[in-house]
């Protein structure tokens, strides 16, 4: 299990615990935790509705792929540590990370 902190659109923070051995993505955990993440494309890095900003995290939680960077590029608002939650695997990299939701308010 890993524990990380999620900051919602109103700035409220909550610690989330997630299993790191089930091949889940951060997007899936956010949805399961009832955060307003649309994830229209279901996790293919094709819609950018699971946009998050990594406020604290080891190595930005891994490298973004070209597909992910292309999609982030289309967003009106982008931050230096923007990522798509669907492209972040739940792993020990996430332990202690702080993630801010940036998707539109749905």
């Amino acid at each position: 299990m890993v524990t990380f902190t999620v900051e919602d659109l109103d700035g409220k923070r909550q610690d989330i615990e997630a299993p790191d051995d089930m091949g889940l993505s951060l997007m899936e955990i956010l949805k399961a935790s009832e955060y307003p993440v649309l994830a229209t494309c279901g996790g293919m890095a094709l819609c950018a509705t699971c946009h998050v900003e990594i406020l604290e995290g080891k190595d930005g939680l891994g490298e973004a792929t070209d597909v992910e960077l292309d999609q982030l590029e289309t967003l009106p608002e982008l931050f230096p540590t923007s990522r798509l939650a669907c492209q972040i695997r739940i792993s020990e990299l996430l332990d202690g990370a702080v993630i801010k939701l940036r998707g539109e308010d749905n």
């Binding site: 229209t40 950018a48 009106p76 608002e77």
Partner: protein, 334 residues
Amino acid sequence: MINTDICIIGAGPVGLFAVFEAGLLKMRCHLVDALPQVGGQLSEIYPQKPIYDIPGYPEVKAQELVDNLMKQIAPFKPTFSLGERIDFLEKQKDGSFVLTTNDKTQIHAKVVVIAGGLGCFEPRKPVLENLEHFEGKGITYMVKDPETFRDKKVILAGGGDSALDWTIYLSNLAQRVTLVHRNETFRGAPDSAAKVFDLANQGKIDLILSANLKKLGGNGRLNSVILENKTKEEIIIDADYLIPLFGLSPKLGPIANWGLNIDKNAIEVDTTDYSTNVKGIYAIGDINTYENKLKLILCGFHEAALMAHSAFKYVYPDQKLSFKYTTVNGVNAF
């Protein structure tokens, strides 16, 4: 006024298959979709991605499934209003409905089926003060008629393919085109990016990189856009039009105002026939919700079949419905 038995809102896979199920029961369908093409998110977001859970297809590309559905429903001659969004729905005294689109197309239908997926795909908007105030008064999110921009000062914002393509296109038409992009490079098609850099080098367009939209200027109508560059300096540019191009995102939109029971952006339905709380309105596919709902295309297909058998009573109130297999009876087109 378009007259039909069933007006289907949303031309994604489930909306398309609903035409087939309705057609078997001799009910005609008119489909409306906010996107300019059929197929919903399959065509818009992932046309080349394989789908593995359609019964009978070990693997099928999203666009191929849409093309096949179009072939399958062709005998029932569905009609379409594409690139339009239903803004108003009015129930008539006789229980039928009149629907009006944002382009003022009117559709009279005995039954309404909402197969809207995650909602209408609408342009993502930049966060700017007074943005709504200038919408339609200088700010537009799509180029519907390029002639609008002839001899005008146009600012485009964005770094994707559509920003590049429209910059190139409008450079021949507008008085002055300025493309604003927050990065130094483009991730869009390399050919288009090269062309945009060429046009900038030749002085035919203004290319402002590493800059963001900051403020809008104008009294009633847009007349300038203020940008902020890397060093936080403000740049004021005169503009008749600003076209922000930041992709599309689904929104529930006007559906939320039709008196339907809605839970977390989804419409609550009765699982015996996928009817909503409003008599004559059904919701199928990803847009509905019920206990144990799975957002799968195949579940939407099932919902379409049950919906059609229930909707029959509104279209043919005096007839008795008899269930028939296509294998026995074939597909009897209109």
